[in-house]
């Protein structure tokens, strides 16, 4: 009965196979070969690539660095975005103007903005260091010192993507019913207690959504690093996707980069699932009711 239904499913199924399943399976196959610039082609290398990866400290460091970078940027984006959204949530003068203004960074092209930020951070030609000197803080080695370069990447990421958080959280705030706030007023709650007991709990679900979307994006941080520091100085700002890019596209070690990618995919899928579960438990009380 209704055997025709498969015909209707077919287009979607084909797209799914072409876009997701085939590349995935192909990557799995490639990761068990030693395809590189000298021996292009699918041979059988067994688990050699995985063994090599296991010993590759640079890869694991990049993974660790990426985790740190993601957590730091998403957290800062969340706090800043929430604060900005709270600022323009209630009736304030020129509210519309501010709402648009806060969104501007998101509308720009990330790569272009990274180039501009690189100019800003430039230690002798950029405008930032003279300003810092003028303030008495002194010039900083923004892109040539490992710690500062890391901070620079965080700053650019936060600048670029806080508006996204802001947008989602503002939409969430605007969709909240007004009654609980009236009730809190009647019950005599002050602004801080109202935020902690009413606003924040009600924002739980949307917060988790916003954080997860950003976390998924942040786990792929690549262009900022590529343009701003090229992973340097040394490998101090290298993220996983950038390292895989170097191995695969620059060194042309297709087999090895496939193994790296696959491992990266699995680790990220597991990690993000766990994070999602933890966040749900932590922030969404009363979900599903």
């Amino acid at each position: 009965m209704y055997r025709q239904k498969y015909i209707f499913l077919l287009p979607g199924l084909l797209v799914l196979i072409a876009v997701i399943l085939f590349p995935l399976i192909f990557t799995i196959r490639v990761s068990f070969s030693s395809w590189d610039v000298y021996n292009p082609g699918l041979n059988d290398a067994g688990g050699a690539m995985y063994a090599r990866m296991w010993e590759d400290a640079r890869y694991w460091q990049a993974l660790w660095r990426l985790s740190l970078l993601s957590v730091a940027t998403v957290l800062i984006q969340y706090l800043l975005g929430f604060a900005l959204a709270l600022l323009v949530w209630r009736d304030i003068a020129a509210r519309r103007f501010f709402r648009v203004l806060f969104l501007v960074p998101m509308m720009t092209t990330p790569v272009v903005m990274s180039v501009i930020w690189r100019t800003i951070f430039h230690e002798s030609l950029g405008p930032l260091n003279p300003i810092l000197e003028g303030l008495g803080i002194g010039a900083q080695p923004w892109l040539s010192h490992p710690g500062f370069a890391f901070v620079a990447v965080i700053i650019v990421e936060v600048w670029q993507w806080t508006p996204f958080m802001f947008l989602l959280l503002l939409a969430g705030l605007l969709s909240l019913p007004s009654e609980p706030f009236l009730a809190a007023k009647i019950d005599g709650a002050g602004p801080i207690r109202t935020f902690l007991s009413v606003t924040f709990p009600m924002m739980g679900a949307i917060s988790v959504g916003a954080i997860l979307i950003r976390a998924i994006e942040a786990s792929k941080i690549m262009e900022t690093v590529y343009v701003l520091t090229s992973g340097g100085p040394g490998t101090s700002t290298e993220t996983v996707s950038y390292y895989i890019y170097i191995r695969g596209m620059r060194d042309f070690q297709i087999g090895y980069s496939a193994a790296l990618s696959l491992t990266y995919l699995i680790i990220m899928a597991v990690a993000l699932t766990l994070i999602a579960k933890a966040l749900m438990r932590l922030m969404v009380r009363g979900a599903g009711a």
Binding site: A183, I186, D187, A189, P201, M202, R285
Partner: protein
């Protein structure tokens, strides 16, 4: 437990704009039950929100026991307000919800627990104290909202903003009973906003009928039923609505043409007259009818039937015992009980 007095109270949402609430004076005695009744947008919720302090009135004063609270912030008025949508703090348990106003008052934990337990016991929420509040049913949530008001030992008044609208009929009945009991037990002033006349009439000692931002009539349910001050009140209260027929001065009387419905003529005869009577006050008769017409429709209403009669001067409805054996198309006549007829001039009661 305060007497609420509204002095020359009025409100316009925009400065210089149209009144959402026209200037009014009103006194609600301590411990009384009052209902604000009117269609949507008549200003009843505005009035309630002014009393609770969620809205600052543009004119006039609000007095609690003679003390001016117009400028006092909401939290300090010691008011409980229950909204149409059950409001609970979703992240808290029932107990935490009930205790929230006390937390805001910074009372010690022990006092809080005692009060919360008392109130929960009274409202039948005792067994649910530790359950998450969002898992309750709608009527239980309304009880929690109510409880958050009652839990303060100094609660001044309970304002109910259409609290029964989203509740199932059976639970509605129970909730209304609980409200009445609470009123009797705590002696707390209660003001109910509603657009449901049955709810208003069964709940309150005094019903304030509002329309277009104005208090049209205020009085006991019986007074509103017997002597509606305007056509609007007559139509709004009672089911089916009061009958109104256009009337003209004829000799010493004002009468409806083609019927025996007549009232003594008043001194001044300018304006539009009409006569009104309740469907409940009419009695079907075979002979000697004051007015008769053709039956156009019959509704079933348990022990009663509602008949619609067509007459050249308009349609009237009557409440008659079931099983009188009339059907649409039949001729039927009725007489009115003594003193059941009311005379209106320009839609206002004059006799």
């Amino acid at each position: 437990m305060v007497e609420i007095r509204l002095e020359q109270l009025a409100h316009a949402y925009r400065r210089g704009g149209a009144y959402a609430l026209r200037p009014l004076d009103m006194t609600w005695r301590s411990g009384g039950t009052y209902a604000l009744l009117g269609p949507s947008g008549c200003g009843k919720s505005t009035m309630l929100n002014i009393i609770s302090g969620l809205i600052q009135p543009s004119e006039g004063r609000v007095l609690f026991d003679g003390r001016d609270v117009t400028a006092l912030e909401t939290g300090r008025r010691k008011i409980a307000q229950v909204f149409q949508v059950p409001v609970i703090y979703r992240s808290m348990t029932v107990g935490q919800n009930l205790g929230f106003p006390l937390v805001c008052q910074r009372l010690p934990a022990q006092t809080r627990r005692k009060r919360v337990e008392q109130i929960a016991e009274r409202l039948g929420l005792g067994p649910m104290l530790h359950r998450p509040a969002h898992s309750l049913t709608a009527d239980q949530k309304q009880l929690v909202s109510l409880g958050r008001g009652l839990v303060r030992d100094d609660v001044a008044a309970i304002l109910l903003d259409e609290p029964l609208t989203v509740i199932d009929p059976q639970q509605k009945f129970d909730l209304r009973r609980i409200l009445k009991e609470i009123n009797a037990e705590f002696g707390v002033t209660m003001v109910l906003v509603t657009h449901d006349q049955t709810e208003a009439m069964t709940f309150a000692e005094e019903v304030v009928v509002m329309n277009m931002g104005e208090v049209v009539q205020s009085g006991s349910p019986r007074a509103l039923f017997e002597r509606p001050a305007t056509r609007h009140v007559g139509s709004f209260i009672g089911a089916p609505a009061m009958n109104f027929l256009p009337a003209d001065p004829m000799g010493p009387q004002v009468a409806v043409a083609g019927t025996g419905l007549a009232m003594p003529r008043p001194d001044a005869t300018e304006g539009r007259f009409c006569l009104g009577f309740r469907p409940e006050h009419a009695r079907l008769v075979r002979e000697g009818a004051t007015m008769s017409g053709i039956v156009t429709r019959i509704w079933f209403e348990g022990l009663d039937e509602i008949l619609a009669l067509d007459h050249p001067s308009g349609e009237v409805r009557l409440r008659a015992p079931a099983g009188i054996g009339l059907k649409p198309g039949d001729q039927a006549g009725f007489v009115l009980e003594d003193g059941a007829l009311r005379l209106y001039r320009d839609d206002r009661l004059i006799a």
